[in-house]
Amino acid sequence: MSNFFNGLLKLRRGPWEMLATVLIALGVFMLMQPFVLWGFTYSFITTLVGTVMFIIVSHFRE
C-alpha cells in the first residue's frame, strides 16, 4: 500500500493509472445505478475527470 502512495508521489504511471481506472469505473457505476439520483447527477463529471486523468498519466514514466 505504501508503495502505491509512493508511486503517486513520484508520479509513476502504475498507481496513477490505477486511480484513474477506479474513477472511471466509479463514474460508470454512478451513471447506471438505480439507487440515488445524486449519484447519477455527478456521474458524468467523475467519469470525465477519470478519463482526462487517464490520458495524462499514461504519459508518466513506468
Binding site: E17, I24, G27, Q33, P34, Y42, S43, F44, T51, F54
Partner: protein, 315 residues
C-alpha cells in the same frame, strides 16, 4: 551500395516518381502513409466530435434551420443529469449490460472449457457456434420478433411445450416484466460465442508444464482449476467483459428491431433514448449533450480496454 543497382532500379520506375521517391526520407514516407488515415479520421470523427461539443452548449434544433440559436451554457447537461427519464434509460442499460455479460461469461467460459477438452471435431462445432455473432444484428433482431410472437412464434411454442403452459399466455416483447429479458436472451444468443472464443484463446495460452508441475505437487483437479486455469484466463476474460460492456453500452440496432424501446419505456436503452431525442424530437443541442456523456463514458472504458489489450498482447 553500388551505384549501378540504384540506377537500374531508378530506371525501372517512372522518372518523375523516382526522383520524388529518392528524395524522400523515411520520415516523410511515414507521414505520407499515415497522413490520409489521420486526415479521414479528423474529418469524419474528430471534427464532428468537436462540433458536437459545441452544439451541446446550444439550443439548436436541426429541423428548424430558420430559428435563432442561443448558447445556453451547461443547462443541457444540467437538465439531462437531473432528468429521471434519462436515468431510467441508464438503468435499463445497466440491467441489459449486467445480465448479458453475466450469461455470456458463464456460458461462454463453460463452452470454451468444454471445447478445450479437445474432443473429435471440436473445431467444426466451434465454427458453427460462432455463426450468430457475425450476422447483421438488425436483420437477426427483426426475425427474433417473429420467434417471440405469442400466438405463432417458435420460441413461445417451445417454452410453452417444455413448461406445459399455454404458448400465448406470455408475451416476451409485450410484457413489462419479460421484455428486458427478451433482449438479454437474444444478445446472449448472439454474443456468447465471442466470449467463448476469447476464453478459448486464454485456455490455450496456458502452457502444459504448469499443470504438470501442479500434478507433481498432487494438487487436486479442482484446486488446479481455481489456482491455475481461472487466474490465467482472467486477463482474457477481462478483455471480453470490457469489450462486451462497451458494445452493449452503445447497443442500438438489435434492440431497436426487437422492442423499439417498449413496452412503455422499459427497454429504452441509452442509445435508443438518444436516437429519439436527436432524430425524432430533433433537439439537436440537448441530444448532443447526451451524446457527449455517452461518448466520454465509452472513451473512459476504451482507455481501460486498450490497457487490457496491451497486457494480453504481452502474453
Amino acid at each position: 551500395m553500388s551505384e549501378k543497382t540504384v540506377d537500374r532500379v531508378a530506371g525501372a520506375t517512372p522518372v518523375l516518381l523516382a526522383r520524388k521517391i529518392k528524395g524522400l526520407s523515411d520520415r516523410a514516407i511515414a507521414w505520407i502513409f499515415v497522413g490520409p488515415t489521420i486526415f479521414l479520421l479528423l474529418a469524419v470523427n474528430i471534427f464532428p466530435l468537436i462540433w458536437t461539443v459545441n452544439l451541446s452548449f446550444t439550443n439548436f434544433k436541426a429541423n428548424r434551420i430558420n430559428r435563432v440559436v442561443d448558447y445556453v451554457g451547461f443547462s443541457n447537461y444540467e437538465r439531462i443529469l437531473n432528468d429521471p427519464d434519462v436515468w431510467l434509460s441508464m438503468q435499463a442499460t445497466a440491467h441489459f449490460l449486467f445480465w448479458t455479460i453475466f450469461f455470456q461469461v458463464l456460458i461462454g467460459f463453460t463452452l470454451a472449457w468444454l471445447i478445450n477438452k479437445k474432443f473429435k471435431g471440436n473445431d467444426v462445432w466451434t465454427t458453427i457456434i460462432v455463426l450468430p455473432m457475425m450476422l447483421s444484428p438488425a436483420v437477426v433482431g427483426n426475425f427474433w420478433t417473429f420467434l417471440y410472437q405469442p400466438q405463432i412464434g417458435l420460441f413461445n411454442y417451445v417454452i410453452g411445450f417444455l413448461s406445459g403452459k399455454d404458448a400465448s399466455s406470455f408475451e416476451m416483447l409485450g410484457s413489462v416484466d419479460l421484455a428486458p429479458w427478451s433482449i438479454v436472451i437474444v444478445d446472449t444468443w448472439m454474443w456468447t460465442p465471442f466470449v467463448m472464443l476469447i476464453c478459448l484463446a486464454g485456455l490455450r495460452s496456458i502452457p502444459d508444464y504448469i499443470y504438470e508441475a501442479a500434478e507433481v505437487d498432487r494438487a487436486s483437479k479442482l484446486r488446479q482449476f481455481f489456482t491455475i486455469t481461472i487466474p490465467m484466463v482472467l486477463p482474457f476474460l477481462m478483455l471480453a467483459v470490457l469489450f462486451r460492456g462497451i458494445e452493449n453500452f452503445k447497443m442500438f440496432d438489435l434492440v431497436v428491431q426487437l422492442t423499439g424501446g417498449g413496452p412503455g419505456s422499459t427497454t429504452e436503452l441509452a442509445s435508443i433514448h438518444l436516437k429519439r431525442e436527436a432524430f425524432e424530437k430533433w433537439r439537436t443541442g440537448y441530444s448532443s449533450a447526451i451524446a457527449i456523456i455517452l461518448f466520454v463514458t465509452v472513451f473512459g472504458l476504451a482507455s481501460i480496454y486498450v490497457k487490457a489489450l496491451n497486457k494480453v498482447k504481452e502474453r
